[in-house]
Every structure is written in C-alpha cells, then in structure tokens.
Amino acid sequence: MKAYFTYFKLKFISGLQYRSAAWAGIATQFFFGFVYVMIYIAFYDSGGENLPMNIHQVITYLWLNQSLLALVNQFSKDQELFKMVKDGTISYELARPKNLYFMWYFKVLGQRLSNVVLRFFPLILVTSLLPKPYTFGGPSSLFNFLLFLISLTIGTLLVTALTVLYPIITLTTMSEKGIVNIMISIADILSGLVVPIPFFPLFLQKISKFLPFQYISDLPFRIYVGNVDILFGIHGIFIQTIWFIIIVFFGFSLMKKNLKRVVVQGG
C-alpha cells in the first residue's frame, strides 16, 4: 500500500511544477466558462418553458465544471500510460514487483489531483467575485455541500478508474486512435461535460441513467446547486459507489487478461 501511495505522491508533487501551464489553463477555462455563461444567459433571456434548472444554478454548475475540469474530464488522457503501451516501456513496468493496475491507478489519481489543485482556487476565487448574474454561487445548504464533497470524492475515484481503463483497452487495440477516442468522446458527452444532463433530450437522459458517466461530475454538481433533492442525492452516491467498484474490478480483470498475451512494441 505504501508503495502505491508513493506513486501517488510522486505524480502529485511533480504535477505541481507545471505552474505556467496551469495559468494558461486557468485563462482558457475562464474564457470558455464565460462564453458558456453568456450563451446560457442569452438563452434564458429569450425565454423557454419547463426549464430544468434556474439560471443561477446553471451558471454555478458551469463554473464548477470549468474549475474542476482537470479532475472530471476524460479527454485529457494520461499520455504517459498510452506511450508505455505503444513504445514498449510497459515491459519495465511489468518487471516491478507490484500490481500494474494499482500502480497506474495511483499515478493517474496523483496527476489529476495536482492538476486540479493548481487550477481550482484561482478560478473559484475570481468567479465568485464576478457581478451578478455571472457570479459563482454558494452551495444551496451546508448539508448539500457535505454531500457534494462526498460524491465528488467518489466521482474522482470513478473517473480515475475510467481513465485507467482506456490504456488497458489499448493493450489490445495497440493504438488509442479510433475506438478508444470514440469511447472517450461519448463518455465526455454523457458525463454532462458539454451540456448539463437535465438539458439533454429525454431519450438520452434515460440512456445515461444506466451508464456510469453521469455519476462522475453531473451528480455532485447538481447536489451542490440544489437541483436534486437530498434523498435522490444519497441514492445517487450509493449507485456511484457501485459503479466505482464495478469499473475497478472490470479494469483489474481486463488488465490481467490482456497482460497474458501482451505484445511489447518497439525495440
């Protein structure tokens, strides 16, 4: 266990070195967030019926999404792991007397956390100081905030498990272009990264109920803004945990299976 934690720490600390990249990321995300906020405001000004969220909830949701993007997205793949699979460095990893799945898991987790720690606070600080209606609002209640923290934690564990899954699949497909990239872009849509799930067409909302993706960030964010009631939130956290266990188990056994006939590429 201690060894895995060291991997986590290593990635976390080395990730913190990339501060100028983080500043660039903050600027980009602020701009993107602002554009999205203005688009939603324009839509709400134009009027609509049966809207699933009020404008303040949407805006807070959007800012949460932007400031935690480094944590909850799947499109920024862990290039290092893909590289390992593609150029054969994986053979070194296999030589280590530790389980490869958990080594990768903790590396990715450390990377993600350090990325988000650098970006989160400045963005939240700046956006909470914006004038209304652009401002990032507080949680709807203290209890909601606590639930948010719990479900965000499990959501992070879940998204890490999914991120580790993609290079494992690449062990069979050999290139992440194609199938894996297609999977990732679908996953990102269905986790509510581009549009909050309540705005989905109804049939897609139904489909995403049976998939793990909306439990990554959509659930915690909606708990935070108070768009779901407490009972639904607790129920969601329960399902989240089950998905997390399933994905870890699936990734673990898929890796075991793939490693039996692993091909080391490169020379």
């Binding site: 990249a21 660039a24 990321g25 600027a27 980009t28 701009f31 993107f32 554009v35 203005m38 688009i39 324009a42 839509f43 000004d45 134009s46 009027g47 609509g48 049966n50 809207l51 699933p52 290139s175 272009k177 194609g178 199938i179 990239n181 297609i182 872009s185 679908i186 990102d188 849509i189 581009v194 549009v195 705005f199 989905f200 067409p201 897609l204």
Partner: protein, 258 residues
C-alpha cells in the same frame, strides 16, 4: 502553388500508408465534431430561440466557422503547429532554402483526417440553407461565399499571429487557445447574443463579427443595407498586420536546434 500542391499530395500519401488508422481517426473525428453540435441541438430542445436566432440560423453560423477552422487545420497545419517547427529546430532548414518562408511553413505539415470536419461542416451548411427561408439574390449568394472565404482567412490570420508569437517565446503558448479554440467556440454563435464589450472586442480587435454576424444579418434579411453583406471583405485587411507580425517576429528568430 505547384510546390504546395505537391507537398499536400505527399502528406496525404504518407497518411494513407496507415489505412485502418486513418479511417478510424476519420470516424472518431466526426464524432468529436458532433459534440459541438450536441450543445446546440440539446439546448434547442428546451429553448425555441436565442435572442431571436432560430436553430437553423445558429447552425448556419456554426458551420461557417467550423468550415474555416477545419480548412486551416487541413491546409495550414504547418502554421497551426508552428511551435513544434521552432522547438525541433527545423525552422533553420526552411531558412536556407531559396523559397518563400511562409509557403514552406504551409508545406511542412497537413492533417487530412480533419477533412471529415470540413465535410461535416458543409453538410450542416447545406441542411441549414435548405431549412431556412432565405430570399436569395446575387448579392446574397456572394455574401455566403464571402463568409466562407473570410472564415478561412480569419483563422489563418489568427494562427499566423500565434505562430509569430512563438519566435519570442520559443514554446507554443497555451493562451493562444483562448483566441483559436475559444474564439471558435464563441464565434459559432451569432456574436450579437453576447454582451456589448465582447461584441466590440470581436468586431475591432479580432474581427469575428465581420465573418459571421453582420453578413449573417444581411443574409437572413434582418438588415437590408448591402454593406452588411460586403462586410466580410474587411477581414482581408486583418491579414496584413498578421503577415507583418510574422515577418517582424522572424527577424528576432534565434535557433534552438542542434
């Protein structure tokens, strides 16, 4: 021009060497691209219009911007990825050849997978034109043509500006994404839906509004004056400072390669 076409052909051939990979990437690009449309499509299931613009009007705007952006990704990839050229030190190679530098940069790279995006943009463009009830006349056809061309021109200008920045910083700055990807993200909507300050910035500093807002108003019959239809021509002027900046930056160039 001949050299450029030949270089393109070479890039295409080398990409087609990995056929399955090419096809799969092509398909996945279509899907990635679809995520952009997804925002619009799902929001319009809840709202009927955005500041008076209907779904198809916004999609028209969308497709024009996407067309210009992807066009540059395919045909001006070298400018887009200019920082790599500098970091690898390969720019020195271009300097010793007796040809126009900019032409050589254009020849240096290209990404044919992105053709899928161009095709998709054209399909959306055609669909939205069919669905919209536009009173066509010669000038409007010309306006549409100008919008498409100026969309290519403006992204070329912005890529070029970002590239000239690389001469000073050596590395590609991620902040450029604000103006390329971010600008694209924003310009997919008719710029009038945004706040005043934004509209002014993207009219006078980076003239996106002349690509897809003022001419759009004319095209849709929201404005009658003909100069709205001709306003994309102003974007061509924007190219002048961009090219000047590039050559100005080149004077400052010091090699990093070995």
């Amino acid at each position: 021009m001949k050299i450029y076409v030949k270089a393109l052909g070479m890039h295409l051939k080398s990409e087609l060497e990995y056929r399955v990979n090419f096809i799969l990437s092509f398909l996945s690009q279509i899907l990635v691209f679809f995520t952009y449309y997804f925002v619009i499509l799902s929001l319009f299931t809840k709202f009927s219009h955005i500041k008076g613009f209907s779904l198809w009007e916004v999609l028209l705007c969308f497709s024009i911007i996407q067309f210009g952006f992807s066009f540059n990704e395919v045909f001006a990839r070298g400018v887009d990825k200019f920082d790599e050229l500098i970091i690898r030190g390969d720019f020195d190679l271009l300097l010793i050849r007796p040809r126009n530098i900019l032409l050589q940069v254009l020849c240096s790279d290209s990404d044919f997978v992105k053709v899928s995006r161009i095709i998709q943009a054209i399909i959306v463009l055609i669909l939205s034109i069919i669905h919209l009830d536009i009173q066509w006349n010669i000038l409007k056809v010309f306006t549409l043509f100008l919008m498409l061309v100026s969309s290519c021109v403006i992204f070329f200008g912005i890529f070029l500006m970002a590239a000239s920045y690389c001469f000073y910083t050596i590395q590609g700055l991620e902040v450029r994404n604000v103006f390329t990807d971010g600008g694209k993200q924003m310009a997919q909507y008719p710029i009038g839906v945004f706040q005043k300050g934004f509209v002014l910035f993207f009219t006078f500093i980076i003239p996106y509004a002349f690509v897809n807002y003022y001419p759009l108003l004319y095209l849709l019959g929201k404005k009658e004056q003909y100069y709205y239809g001709l306003s994309p021509l102003l974007v061509f002027l924007y190219l002048i400072p961009c090219i000047m900046m590039f050559y100005q930056g080149m004077k400052r160039y010091t090699s990093v390669g070995s």
